[in-house]
């Protein structure tokens, strides 16, 4: 009995120190000096713009990776082809890579002297240090999530329902739309939630490729760094609290959806 309480204390103590205290801290420190500094920071046009950039990148990366993730999962689970293991490994790659390394790789490809950079430069399109690079970086780092959630669900489902639908006269498209997709919808939604959280929180790769120009190519996360390095702590906390609030929302969604993912 004492052992049980002891273990509980150890676990909860660890979590308190590492997780909970910091979380509480953000909210406390932010509103320590009242609402005005928070409002000032959040209404600063550069900050608003930073949120906009983050949202645009997320709004592009999430649908792209969702479609990709579902296609990938279907191919890996339902089809036979050579190189499946390789495909699996490549999907997981962004999880194992440091975001800075990702940023560097994009820099090498799309910088003005990069592999593709010259082509883009000739056509007057700026990729690096502009929105396109930010979007690309955001897509790269959030590739795995939907695929990784859908694959096990698809595997567990098997394809008997689709077979039944075929015998009942459903065409391939009808089977996909009416049977396959609805069956995996919670796994997809959960994957989308994780992808969104990752996109919103991306820092390392965009730090390399964005150029960090205030009011133009800063994301919300870069804005936090900017404020901090300029000793504008209330500004930093203001943006952080918004991000933290979305994180809590994400957590709530994750908790609600996870049980439904079970097939």
């Amino acid at each position: 009995m004492a052992k049980r309480l002891g273990l509980r204390a150890v676990a909860l103590g660890y979590l308190l120190v590492i997780l909970l205290a910091p979380l509480v801290m953000i909210f406390y420190r932010t509103f320590e000096n009242g609402l005005k500094p928070v409002w000032d920071a959040l209404s600063d046009p550069n900050t608003v713009h930073a949120f906009k950039i983050t949202l645009i990148a997320t709004a592009i990366a999430v649908p792209v990776n969702t479609v990709f993730g579902v296609l990938c999962a279907l191919a890996i689970v339902r089809r036979r082809f050579r190189g499946k293991g390789l495909l699996n490994a490549f999907i997981d790659l962004p999880l194992a890579l440091s975001p800075v390394v990702v940023g560097l790789a994009l820099f090498l490809l799309y910088g003005r002297t990069g592999w593709f950079g010259t082509w883009f430069a000739d056509h007057g399109i700026q990729v690096l240090f502009a929105l396109p690079a930010i979007v690309l970086a955001t897509i790269f780092v959030s590739v795995p999530f939907v695929a990784r959630e859908v694959i096990p669900t698809l595997r567990e489902l098997g394809n008997e329902q689709e077979q039944a639908a075929a015998t009942l006269g459903a065409t391939r498209w009808q089977r996909f739309w009416r049977i396959t997709l609805p069956s995996i919808r919670w796994a997809v939604i959960y994957g989308v939630v994780l992808t969104t959280a990752r996109c919103l929180g991306e820092y390392g790769a965009v730090a390399v490729v964005s150029g960090r120009v205030e009011g133009q190519t800063e994301t919300a996360t870069l804005r936090v760094e900017d404020y901090t390095l300029n000793f504008n702590t209330s500004g930093a906390y203001a943006v952080s609290v918004v991000l933290a609030a979305t994180a809590v929302l994400v957590l709530v969604l994750m908790t609600l959806i996870k049980p439904r993912e079970a097939v």
Binding site: K3, A21, P22, M25, S98, L108, Y203, V224
Partner: protein, 281 residues
Amino acid sequence: MEASAARAPHVRPREAARAGGRASTAISIGIISTFLTVVVVLPIAALVWESHKSGADAFWQAVSNPLAVSALKLTFGAAFIVVLINIVFGTVTAWVLVRDDFPGRSIVNAVIDLPFALPTIVAGLTLLALYGPRSPIGIDVAYTRTAIVLALCFVTLPFVVRTVQPVLLELDTEMEEAARSLGARQTTVFRRIVLPNLLPGILSGAVLALARALGEIGSLVLIAGNIPGHTQVVSVYVLNQIESGDPSGAAAVAVVLLGASFVLLLAVGALRFFVTRYERG
């Protein structure tokens, strides 16, 4: 039914159907491969290319300079410590969440995923607030190596917990009951029955935590101080090199990090394979 007339028409529908199935697989694979190539493969290729662009000497120089070496040592050292901490605390946490029951357990369970949901830079900021110069509890470890371990513990916390939980949930308690009926004490049961069964889950989580710890940057930029040669991890070093106009040097170090991570992951993978050999009979 005339054999010849019956044969000719039906061969085509069957083959056509089979070919149709193969075609759509090919199209799917085509789309997926193109996407992956553009988004994942090419960037990696560019990286490896750039690191070798100026020849082996330049590569070696970039990698062996003292700052780079110190960054690599620090990163791997810190990562190892953090993984060990996670193995212990992560397993304990998973155990408490699965086997114990207390008010608020479900909230605690949900909060475990916080590091997945919270942007790393925000995490770094709050750790700084809590354990830095203006700490409300008087602990100031900012700009020290301790801060690095602290930040890495935050971002890697969920991994081992989440990989061990499902294993614990599925664990057949009958095994433990059988052991106890044969006279084993609780600690023995844990050591000889539970732990061996948890090991694959623990190792999976450890691998994920390791990969994450080696590449982490967001939570470290603010709290670690990034003092070159002292508290500068590889990711920050690489960032620095890019910003000082030495992308090749940066690429070289990045490739070394990648290579070393790859070897480590393979090693743990092999360990996991070995540990689960009884499952393969």
